[in-house]
């Protein structure tokens, strides 16, 4: 009593029974047709434009963007570390919200206890948030605190 069980099911099912269901593929026939159609359409359009299209390449047409700025320099110029930090922090806080979902589903049954537990959980997450906020990770205008500035050669990443 009082236990919400995790991981206990009807324990005598046979795996063997599941492995050979006849004609299950029939249900997926429409998807197969769609695949074939999509593939045919895409290939057909490319081939058709090759066959009947005219090609008159010019300097403007060959540039990466026909309208807009002319690209300058190397694209792999390296981002400020700030971007990575914010991305990392985003991953964490984004995924932590996933636990709100099962709680919301079972909200009525869990009653006050669930609410309190969730407040504790959010408080712990907020403690982490306060930490990164106070450390200035979210602050775009000031340079990183207590960080030595990088030599320019290191600012580039991805060189092998």
């Amino acid at each position: 009593m009082g236990e919400y069980t995790i991981g206990r099911g009807n324990s005598t099912r046979e795996i063997a029974a599941m492995t050979s269901t006849p004609s299950y593929m029939a249900n997926y026939l429409p998807i197969l047709i769609q695949f074939v159609l999509a593939l045919a359409l895409a290939l057909g359009l490319i081939v058709a434009s090759r066959l009947i299209g005219q090609r008159r390449p010019g300097k403007i047409k060959l540039s990466p963007y026909e309208c807009g700025m002319t690209p300058k320099g190397d694209v792999r110029s390296g981002f400020a570390v700030k971007f990575y930090l914010v991305a990392i922090v985003f991953i964490l806080f984004d995924i932590e919200a996933v636990f709100l979902l099962p709680w919301a589903v079972e909200f009525r049954r869990l009653r006050v206890l669930g609410l309190v537990e969730m407040i504790v959980y959010i408080a712990i997450v907020l403690a982490g948030f306060t930490y990164i906020w106070k450390r200035g990770v979210l602050d775009w205008n000031t340079p990183e605190r207590n960080e030595p500035t990088l030599p320019p050669s290191v600012a580039r990443t991805g060189n092998h």
Binding site: Y4, S11, K134
Partner: protein, 510 residues
Amino acid sequence: MTSAATPLVPAVYYLRILPEIVLTVFGAVIMLIEGPARHVGRGRTTRWVALVGALTAFAAVWIQSRHPGYAFSHLFRVDGFTVFFGFLLTAIATVIILMAMDYLPQQHLDRGEFYALVLFGTVGMGFMAGATELILMFIALEISSISTYILAGYRRHAPKSTEASLKYLLLGSFATAFFLYGIALIYGATGTTQISAIARALAHPSAGAAVQTGQIVLLGAALMFIGLGFKVSAVPFQVWTPDVYEGAPAPVTAFMSAAPKAAAFAIFLRIFTVALAANSHAWFWLLWAAALLSMTVGNVAALLQNNFKRMLAYSSIAQAGYILVAFAALGADGVSAVMFYLAAYAAMNIGAFAVVSHFAHRDERYVDIRNYAGLGFRAPWPAFCLSVFLFSLIGVPLTGGFFGKVYIFRAALHSHLVALTIIGLLNSALAAYYYLRPVVAMYMREAPVLPALAPGAPAGNIEPPIPPTAMSGPIAVVLALCVAVVIWLGVFPGSVLAYALRSARHLLHG
């Protein structure tokens, strides 16, 4: 399921995980103090908070031990086994925090995050010790691992340290994925992730599905063995150990070699001797081979090392081999020998690393064994302590290591593992050579006289002797504690062994 009278979660459940709650709260407090602090040397307040937190958690284990039983729908169980590891892990955390108090200011790394990470890591390990459900084990393992990944790279401006951190992270998460896949297969075969329910399902397999689920269970067991083999650095899954131990800051290496390893052995024991007990004939030989290889490879490779931390890394692989011998012996004797050895090993290994950490100096300049020449005369007390730890690692009588080995090989002989016992004893003799090298250097070698060079210039092939180093209070406490425990376990091993034996019986028979 829920009746009106019993609440969904009785209050006693929270008492059963009190040490972990305490550690989490203190860790969060450190982060809140640490965040707004603006100058280097911020560790000054947080280290005391951390120390109080670790000691409070140690006390909380005692409160926890007054309330044995399951908590949170069979996710966690407080029994003798959990409490034994709880005391061990919180004690290790306390000692590591003391060590860091000496080491971090020396390295100009004195920031509070270190202490928060040690506390959070200990939370994960505490849950590993008591978890009776595979998913909780996985999450706990990850909490402890992620904390140690960061700690390994704590000297983040030292290329070696970040490289160690990266290697540890990549190989560690690789291993965790194997462990998790093993869990998934066991879940698929039995329909549950609870240790006791798995044991029941495997002991009475349903007739129809027997063949197929049997194979899935064996595959799952093998995958979990790989994952946990990485975590305890058993051969052939040890490749990360030397690099990570060498590159990580010395107190972190001490921590890694004791606490996560002990916790990993805890879940190793719970999974294999309880959940998979019915299949022991299948996985026994894996254990046997891993024990043999770990002892031999670890000891032979350690002979060739000059770097003190790297030598202790190979030594820890060999020590994991001895522990696996006891594991392979199975039964209450084997399990209790594992527990006793883990306690003795923690004390002697952390002690040895404490000395290394103390003499490392800025940027870990002095970590070569040849640096220790003549140290016995210039720093008699630390040198004496280091000798005690190394003698204990050899297994000399009157030290904890001696009784640890006695219990291991006794359990192995009771289980008729004659070959393993003989190879283990031969290995112990071999190991004496490299453990004695620092002792010889400290007491029988003169410190080399350096040619007069400009300060900072490389001195050629001569390893310079360690300069005079003032003993700080915390490191003195660490050394005194470790020596006391090593000697105590070597002179009065009875009470600890009796407790380990009781908890082992409790673990094995419900």
